[in-house]
Structures are given as structure tokens and as C-alpha cells.
């Protein structure tokens, strides 16, 4: 649906001769090109009017295993805004190097740093190839297949062990005294120095890693000229837990609780993206009721996330009342989610094949009650903020992100829409029930902070519209309609609610959902039918959106940093994974 047609891709084969086009069962169209023609080919795709793959979505590496030669494969996912479809371009990383893409898309900078960090692939021509998530002196590349899941235990760290009157305890109470490496203060200093090799001023201002304004553990470095930022870099990774590695080492269903813990503000949407990818790889169609329930829950979660964003954003800019108001509404949404799924925060309600339980008695009534009330509350928030002169002067024309930046950096979600790009995966992919509900995509005009604010406010109203339609549709359904995938052919395709023994077929898939924080995509590469993924790549929207911070802040006073960060709205759990 949202992939380039094979015929169009075959034309590339005819034109150049060297590309090899293949289509997977899941619909993914990928083109393999030799390494020396890689840049030339991508440049053509970007600049040719007939293809126009201007937008950079993701870059990653697949490790095929120690014994394979060549071992590493680079994967680039691109999107064409004109034709509304995607393409995957692959190449083999011979000698563990690849040419850099930063001359074509600036957004590849962080992705390449991450690939170097995780796989040890060198990118020739990259301006400052330093580690992305781990610290500079760390000797290993953890996403390689020969790196064990539990890490290499080479540091003596007995303090985790609990002792009772001097004796260490046995069994489940005790921990290994040897641990994986942890950074020391010297390591962090080296890391910090390497991030900005050319400083222009005497002072580099550190913001974070533990500052209430950063909403998590992000470490900003500002090179300042007076009050104005000349250069900026961000050190992330303090919350890096290796979710991708975990995804390659746990079963399909067991991975869902881990996705909850990435973007913990909108856990349902994270689950959603993952189950969509897995279902596409399985090639199953889930029941109608499950689709509508999922759509409804995802939108509830979006409102929940936006309310938190609004409260903390206003709080950062000095409007303390807002925080209390939004948390009151948020509490109601959390209450409903808790009643339906059993947890407030780490929800784990969706399953590959549907949802794990039907809606409990009274769920639709509570949701209806909530959305009847909510538009009025959003109007209240808007009267407090939208026309307020302090709010206007803190937000208007602050840190403009242009349309060009959106394509260059692969910005998605409200950040892209605020800059006037109507990029919305819900409209492009029409996953679940989004093809059948009516809603508008709000887009901004100038791309300043104020537009991003307005876009998110409008998004909440649109979400309410979607939920209304979902509730109306679910009301007409029967209690006996299935909420989980059913097949008469149980032996051939085993999908269970708890997920034991579920096998996913070989192949590759990229599926994404539109999160409150941008497009969250899961790229799964499965070598053979298996209980676990061979490669699980998570394209985090917040990660790419955060990258534009380093550009948009340049030339702005330091006070705008907090506005910009709030309107980009990253969640560290998702940027660091």
C-alpha cells in the first residue's frame, strides 16, 4: 500500500543495471545495490523528480552473524512525499565500512553514529564519528551477534549484593559480583570533550543530564556567545537499555512489555507499532472489533500523552496552573485505561493478533463521558494560553523548523506537521481502523514553536473525533464478536494470547504507527522462521526529532532551549531505547 510498486522499482533495474529489486510477502520493496554505487544511487533517488525520495526515514545495519561473509548489511529506508510511498535500499558493508549519507541527508548523522556505536561500522566521510548512546571509551559494539545478551562481565562491583549481618545471601537474593562495564568520571569527561571538537567560546554550558527542564536524562552542551547559542550537541544514552538487543533475544509476545517501557507516556502506541509489524510479517488480518478497540485506545493514549506534554510545557514556561489542570484530565484517562487493561502506565494490552481481553462492562460509557467533557476543558486551556501575550512572546517565531529540515532530518509527528508537512502515518498506511474514520491532519504555517503548540492542541480535538466514531462503531457490535485472531487452521499458524511457541515466518517488514512523538517504526528482519527476531530495529521518532534541536537552537538565546525542547517533546525512554 505505502510501498513503491515493483514495476516502478524494476525501472530502476533497467536504467542502472546493478540494482536488484525484491519484494517480500509483507509488501516491503527493497533494492540492493553494490557499495561503490550506493551514494550515486541514493542521490538519484533523492533528486530525480520521478522518484523523489526526499525524506530520510531510517538507517540501520543488519548483522548476519559471525560466519557470514560479507557480514554486515546497511539498510536505508526512504519516503517520497510526492508519491506517498517508501523504499528500502540495501548494500553490503564490505570491510566494515560504508560511505556516509550525511552529504545527502543531514539526519543520517545520528543514525550513522548509532550504527558505529552498536555495530562498529565506520562511515567514511562522517564529520565526527563518535559514539551515540554509549560512552567513548567503551570497547565493545553490543548489537553484534557475538556480543552476549548479559554483556561482558569485566568490572568488579560488589555493592549490589545484599548482606545480612556480614554474610551474603544465597539463591535469588544474590547477584553476580562481576558486572558489565560502567563509565567512570574520566570516561564521561572524555566523552564530553569528543562531542564538540571545535569550540568557539571559553564557556561550554552544560544543561542536564539531570535537570527538571530536560524531562529525563538528556545532557546538552551549549557553546555560547553571550546569551546566544553558537553550537550545540546532545549526549544521550543515560537511559539506554538495549531494547533492540532484547528484542532479538526474547520471544515475540514477550517483547511487548519491553516496548511499554520505551515511550512510557504513550505505551499503547508503542505496543501498537510493534504488533502491527509482527502481524504484517505473519500476514494475518485481525478481527474488526480488535481493530476498532485498538484505534480507540491508541487515540486515548495520544490525548493522555498530549495532556502531559501540555502540562509540563506550560510549567517549563512558567504557567504552573496548567500542569494541575491537565493532570486532572489525565487522571481520568489513566483510570479508564487501568480499568480496561489492568495497568495505568505500562499497559501491555495489545497482542499480536488483537487484544488480550474484551472491553469490561461500562468501558464505553466511561469513555463517552470523558470525551463529552474534554472539548470544553481544552477550550479552557486555550483561553489560558493561546492568546496570552507572555505565551505569544515566548513561542512566536521561536526556533523555526523549515519544511526542508523535515525531509533532511526525517522529522515526523507534530514537529513535521507544525512545519506545514502533512505527514501522518495514519493517513498513509491506514492501519487498523484509521482508513475508516474521519479526521483532519492539522498543519502549521511557519514551523515555529507556537505552530507546534497549535498543532498538538488541534490533534487532541481530532483524537476526540476519532474516539467518538470508534465508540459509535463499537456500540453496534456484538459481545460475541472475536477480539483476538482466530483461524480454523490452528496447526499451520499458531497465535496464542500469551504467545508461547509463536513462530514468525522468515522475511522482512517495516511497519510504523503515528505516535504522539512521531513515527515509531519497527523494522524486523527474520532470517528463518523463528521464535525470536534476527534483527529488530526500532526507528524512534523522538530520536530523529531530537536531532533537529542541535540545528534549530543555533543563533537563538539560551532561554529558547526550553521552549524548543518542550515543543519537540522527546521521551528519553524512546530516544535511548
Amino acid at each position: 500500500m505505502s510501498w513503491i510498486s515493483v514495476e516502478k522499482a524494476k525501472k530502476l533495474e533497467e536504467r542502472f543495471g546493478y540494482p536488484k529489486v525484491s519484494q517480500d510477502k509483507s509488501g516491503v520493496v527493497s533494492v540492493e545495490v553494490p557499495k561503490d554505487k550506493f551514494i550515486e544511487f541514493l542521490k538519484f533517488l533523492k533528486e530525480d523528480k520521478e522518484y523523489d525520495f526526499r525524506m530520510f526515514l531510517d538507517l540501520t545495519i543488519i548483522d548476519h552473524g559471525e560466519k557470514e561473509d560479507p557480514r554486515f548489511q546497511g539498510v536505508v529506508i526512504l519516503f517520497s512525499p510526492t508519491y506517498q510511498h517508501r523504499i528500502i535500499v540495501k548494500t553490503w558493508a564490505l570491510d566494515e565500512t560504508l560511505p556516509t549519507l550525511t552529504n545527502l541527508w543531514k539526519g543520517a548523522k545520528w543514525a550513522e553514529r548509532e550504527a558505529w556505536d552498536m555495530f562498529g561500522i565506520k562511515f567514511e566521510g562522517h564529520e565526527n564519528l563518535v559514539r551515540m548512546l554509549l560512552w567513548e571509551t567503551y570497547p565493545y559494539h553490543p548489537l553484534r551477534k557475538d556480543f552476549p545478551l548479559e554483556g561482558i562481565k569485566d568490572t568488579y562491583l560488589p555493592s549490589l549484593n545484599e548482606t545480612l549481618r556480614g554474610d551474603s545471601l544465597e539463591g535469588l537474593f544474590n547477584y553476580d559480583r562481576m558486572h558489565t562495564a560502567i563509565p567512570t568520571m574520566e570516561d564521561l569527561e572524555i566523552t564530553q570533550k569528543k562531542r564538540m571538537p571545535v569550540k568557539t567560546s571559553q564557556i561550554v554550558l552544560n544543561w542536564g543530564p539531570l535537570h527538571p527542564g530536560t524531562h529525563g536524562t538528556i545532557w546538552f552542551l551549549f557553546d555560547l556567545d553571550g546569551e546566544y547559542v553558537k553550537q550545540c550537541d546532545i549526549i544521550i544514552g543515560q537511559l539506554h537499555r538495549g531494547v533492540e538487543k532484547l528484542g532479538e533475544n526474547v520471544n515475540w509476545q514477550q517483547f511487548i512489555p519491553y516496548t511499554d517501557r520505551m515511550d512510557y507516556i504513550a505505551a499503547i502506541n508503542e505496543n501498537h507499532a510493534y504488533v502491527l509489524a509482527a502481524e504484517k510479517l505473519l500476514g494475518i488480518e485481525i478481527p474488526e472489533k480488535a481493530k476498532w478497540i485498538r484505534t480507540m485506545m491508541a487515540e486515548l493514549s495520544r490525548i493522555n500523552s498530549h495532556l502531559l506534554w501540555l502540562g509540563t510545557y506550560a510549567l517549563d514556561l512558567g504557567a504552573l496552573t496548567m500542569f494541575l489542570y491537565t493532570f486532572r484530565e489525565r487522571e481520568k484517562i489513566m483510570d479508564i485505561i487501568e480499568g480496561i487493561s489492568g495497568a495505568r502506565f505500562t499497559i501491555n494490552y495489545f497482542r499480536i493478533g488483537g487484544v488480550f481481553a474484551d472491553l469490561p462492562y461500562g468501558a464505553l460509557d466511561a469513555i463517552e463521558h470523558l470525551i463529552k467533557d474534554l472539548p470544553e476543558r481544552i477550550n479552557d486551556y486555550e483561553t489560558l494560553l493561546t492568546r496570552n501575550r507572555i505565551w505569544l512572546s515566548r513561542n512566536k517565531d521561536v526556533c523555526i523548523i523549515t519544511e526542508e529540515d523535515v525531509y533532511e532530518y526525517g522529522l515526523t509527528g507534530a514537529v513535521a506537521r507544525g512545519s506545514g508537512v502533512p505527514y501522518d502515518v495514519r493517513k498513509i498506511d491506514k492501519y487498523d481502523a484509521y482508513g475508516e474514520v474521519e479526521f483532519d491532519i492539522p498543519v502549521g504555517e511557519t514551523g515555529d514553536s507556537y505552530d507546534r503548540y497549535l498543532v498538538r492542541m488541534e490533534e487532541m480535538r481530532q483524537s476526540i473525533r476519532i474516539i467518538e466514531q470508534c465508540v459509535a462503531k463499537l456500540r453496534r457490535m456484538s459481545k460475541n464478536d472475536p477480539y483476538f485472531f482466530q483461524t480454523p487452521d490452528e496447526k499451520k499458524l499458531k497465535v496464542t494470547i500469551d504467545g508461547r511457541g509463536m513462530k514468525l515466518p522468515a522475511g522482512e517488514v517495516y511497519a510504523s504507527s503515528d505516535n504522539p512523538r512521531g513515527e515509531l517504526g519497527f523494522y524486523i528482519y527474520n532470517k528463518k522462521d523463528g521464535l525470536k527476531a534476527h534483527r529488530m530495529r526500532i526507528r524512534s521518532g523522538a530520536f530523529y526529532n531530537l536531532q533537529v534541536f542541535t540545528k534549530a537552537i543555533i543563533g537563538r538565546p539560551i532561554a529558547d532551549a526550553i521552549t524548543l525542547l518542550s515543543t519537540i517533546d522527546p521521551v528519553v525512554g524512546e530516544t535511548d531505547r
Binding site: 545480612l164 535469588l172 514477550q254 517501557r261 480499568g339 462492562y361 467533557d373 474521519e438 498543519v443
Partner: protein, 230 residues
Amino acid sequence: MGIKKVGAKPQTLVEKIFFLDFIKGLKTTIKHLWKKVITVDFPYEVVTPPPRFRGVHGLRTVDGTENPEFDSWVKRLKIKPPEPGETRCIACKFCQAACPVPELFDIQSEKLDVPEGHPHYGLKVMTVFNMDLSKCTFCGLCTQACPTDCIIMTDIYDLSSYTRRSWVLDKDMLTQIANDFVARRGKEKFDEKSQWREDQKLWPEYDRTREKLWDFNMPKLGLNYHDQTA
């Protein structure tokens, strides 16, 4: 494709001179000033968690509400048929297999030490069931994997303790938690075959504290689907 343009309108002169933006904002604040307090005074007041709440685990005992396959599972795994009041656990380790952090479980079973010819000769019994809840993600996958509906999740959420050791619950503790929970709220959650009730409520309606969270304007819970019965 529905695209809706949102854009900034500059402040009008009237708004600027008469501070209309501030007056409107203050009006909203004053409107909210007279509302009742909505926060719950924990721990003196508590909200009762909903029936589906995923809290601390428990191991259910045999009480005549087992699911129809219970006896066949006991036979298949060569477990000593449990008397009423004994645990339902058949040491199949399905919960461990479904768990994202399998090392949090420590499940062992032993053969009964009885002479040949005894009716329980060659049968096993579950002896150790430890759960380290400091590693638990409370995802609920174990409860869905359990074939005998033995492991359940209760409504207990306060897990704080002074030592890590007290996060490890053994089988007696887990059984006690489940017995207590089933006696308190079993009717709300389970039907007579230990399955989740079809008319499980979104929240317990007897809980008056929850009204506070909802601004003293609670929704009235009703049917979801037209053919549902209360």
C-alpha cells in the same frame, strides 16, 4: 485528504490595550477556584483498584471452581491429585516460559517418597515456587499462560520493603495472598470456572473514593454492546 491549517493570529489592539487575554485567563482560574479538592489523601484514603488490576501475584488453591481441563492436566503431568485447599499448581512451568524475565521464577517439583503400590506412587508434587518480584514487570503474561488458572494477579500494589529479600515471595505467601484476594474480591473477577467474568466491571462501583478523581461527576457504567447482559 483532510488537512486543517492552524496558524497564529496576531493580538488585536483592543486585546492589547484592555488586557483581554489576562482577564479571560483569570476568569478561567477563578472558575476553577471554587471547585472541591479532587486529590486522594493517600494512605488515609485509598482508591480500590479495578478487578483487572495487575498487582502482586498469588497462587490459587483447589476450591471447586477449577476449569474443566484441570483434572486432565493433573493426570498428564503426573501430579498428585490435590485435595481441596491444596495448591492448583502443577509445576508445568508455563508461566516461566511466557515470562519476559524467566529468571524471576524458581519452580521445582519432587517425586513423592511413597512405597510401590501406594496410590500416589510415582506422582510428583510442587515443592518450591519462589518469585522475585523485584524483577517482575507485571505484564500479566504468566496469568494468561497458566493452564489451571492457578497463578493470578491480585489488587495489592504496595511492595515497598527494606531488603531485597522480602521481594521474593514463596509458595505459602503466594497462596495466602491468593486466598485472601479470592475471599475479598473473587466474585468480582472470576466466574465459577475461574475464568474472567464476562460482566467484569470497569471499576468497582461501591468505591466512593473514585468519585474524587472524576470531579464528583462519575459516569454511570452500562452495557458496552447491545446484546450484552448485566
